[in-house]
Amino acid sequence: MSAIQNIVMPKWGLAMQEGLVAAWHVPVDAVLEAGQDLLDIETSKIANVYESPVSGHLRRIVVAAGETVPVGALLGVCAPASVSDTEIDAHVKAFQDSFDWDGAKADTGPEPETAETTAGRLRFLRMGDGDGPSMLFLHGFGGDLNTWLFNQEVVAQSGRTIALDLPGHGGSTKDVGPGDLVTLAGAVMALMDHLSLPSAHLVGHSMGGATALLVALERPDRVASLTLLAPGGFGPAINMDYINGFIAEKRAKKLRAVLELLVADPTAITAEMVEEVIKVKRLDGVDAALKTLRDGLFPGGTQAIDLRDRLAALLCPVRVIWGRRDRILPASQADGVPASIRVTLLDAAGHMPHMESAATVNALLQEVMT
């Protein structure tokens, strides 16, 4: 019976308890490729395409469009033709009978922790278990650990993961010192020391990518691998309309136009996402921290630190992932890197490949962990 594969309602972010199946992109009986658009899911916070986590023959659609079900509920079943309809019916019935419908909704999942470290108060979220090095996720400018809502839970199936709020962001200290990469890299090292991690797989997006890169260059003994998503530090160019707009705009309508620069498909930016960003920007100290980081990282409108010349010195495995439709940092910054660095360019993604092409990025991250 192991030939039967379940597709269940994913958990996108800490607050998600249930999701609405807005639409299926494929009919029953379709043959699925892992990573293809499978269905649209809406939660109270976000709406997105769910990419198929499996390859196989979609034999049953269990939850029709328009229905809302808890996280973990069975949405569909894949199985080869050799499995009979009767066996599939029995499988679905067994799943539904054993599924804890009330418990699934009440389960809020892992909660973020905070620690007082040598770099100040840091908030982080741990998921998964295993013996190998942890995978440590570093978000970009203006983000927080929720940036990884489509990734961390998936990768955590293969091992230990930690998503960090960098200084100035989320629930971490709002003290960003002079607002430079050294401060951010120092916070990463402080958390690794606090958690007694000898080394980690670093995954960094944008500003977090530049941070991860600096950690790997300065402390190669502490970095098992690097996965850099649309990373900073690969050249001077950066779209300052985004950075300045993100800081300046307080109203939903104008901020939405700024946030739309992040993604290839602007409809991915929901009203709820805009509202969440506004709420974060209102927290005491956030505005000053973002301005200090802007002035420290991008003085005069270009990236202050260019680490490109030092890429050849990296000792660990490095992968760079970039969306070809990135409007914040141009994907051309990945051109001409040393041959030892594997580059993956994604046609459909803008500046948020881990959200826009989550299944592809997750597969690459799981490869690192296994």
Binding site: A15, G171, R251, A252, A271, K279, R282, L283, D284
Partner: protein, 337 residues
Amino acid sequence: MPMKSYRQAVNEALRQEMERDSRVILMGEDVAGGAGAPGEDDAWGGPLGVTKGLEPIFGRERVLDTPISESAFIGCAAGAAATGLRPVAELMFVDFMGVCFDQIFNQAAKFRYMFGGRATTPLVIRTMYGAGFRAASQHSQCLYPLFTHIPGLKVVLPSNAYEAKGLLIQAIRDDDPVIFFEHKAMYDEEVDVPDESYAIPFGEANVTREGDDCTIIAFGRMVNLANQAADNLGKSGITCTVVDPRTTSPLDRETILDTAGETGRVVVVDEAHPRCNMATDIAALICEHRFADLKGPIKQVTAPHAPVPFSPALEDLYIPGVPKIEAAVRELCGKGH
């Protein structure tokens, strides 16, 4: 983000601002509740427990139980504000405000103007308003239109716990007198509220729903009802924009006029009596500046021009509710819907 009640949100805003700034003090009837009497000082923590737990942290010097004399302690608070403290006075029910109109209207509201901008009055008056509490006509009025009428006062109507915390922090940091209206029927309503401090600027409306057919502008507790009405109407194909102005003074005219012009149909929901209330004010504003965009008359959903009844059955009928809001929108959108 943790769920917190409106009561907890107000308490947390007070505590965090008192920790941040030693000039912030509380005063009012029973804000601690036990001062000068046997037993614990923090016996009440406010008539509905909103300030509970603050006296043990900050002491009787910063959490002052006052005599039952609103004219005395509101005047005292205005003077304290003008001379360097940042008092948050609690005037239990807004209905009792009448005995201290001189202190508010003629003194606190006028200091900045009369002293050529050289005096500031960082005073917050927290007060309970609204019907639904079975507290009869002298404990259930809205009265925010009265204060909105006076230049020099800022008037705040938080519509949920998240709004209450951020707007109260802004009120305490503001250098002008602020009347902060807490709806007594909302104290147990919970939403996500961050643990950290944050301030929501005055004069920036919140657009809580976006739609094409009708714009509903609602105040205070009415915002949640307007959201429910909009969600219900959405199921039958009528989509509504809902605007929560947050503050009636200053008023975000831009968002109100823009959203009114976008749909061309406007319903204003106001729990206050219908004459000279916020609904008439907003309707006049839109008529003057967006008349050409309007596709029909501006509908006002308000309480009747009558005291709040003590009979529970009549009180329920008195308060504007979701069905009344829906009916107004449907009437405006016509038979096509």
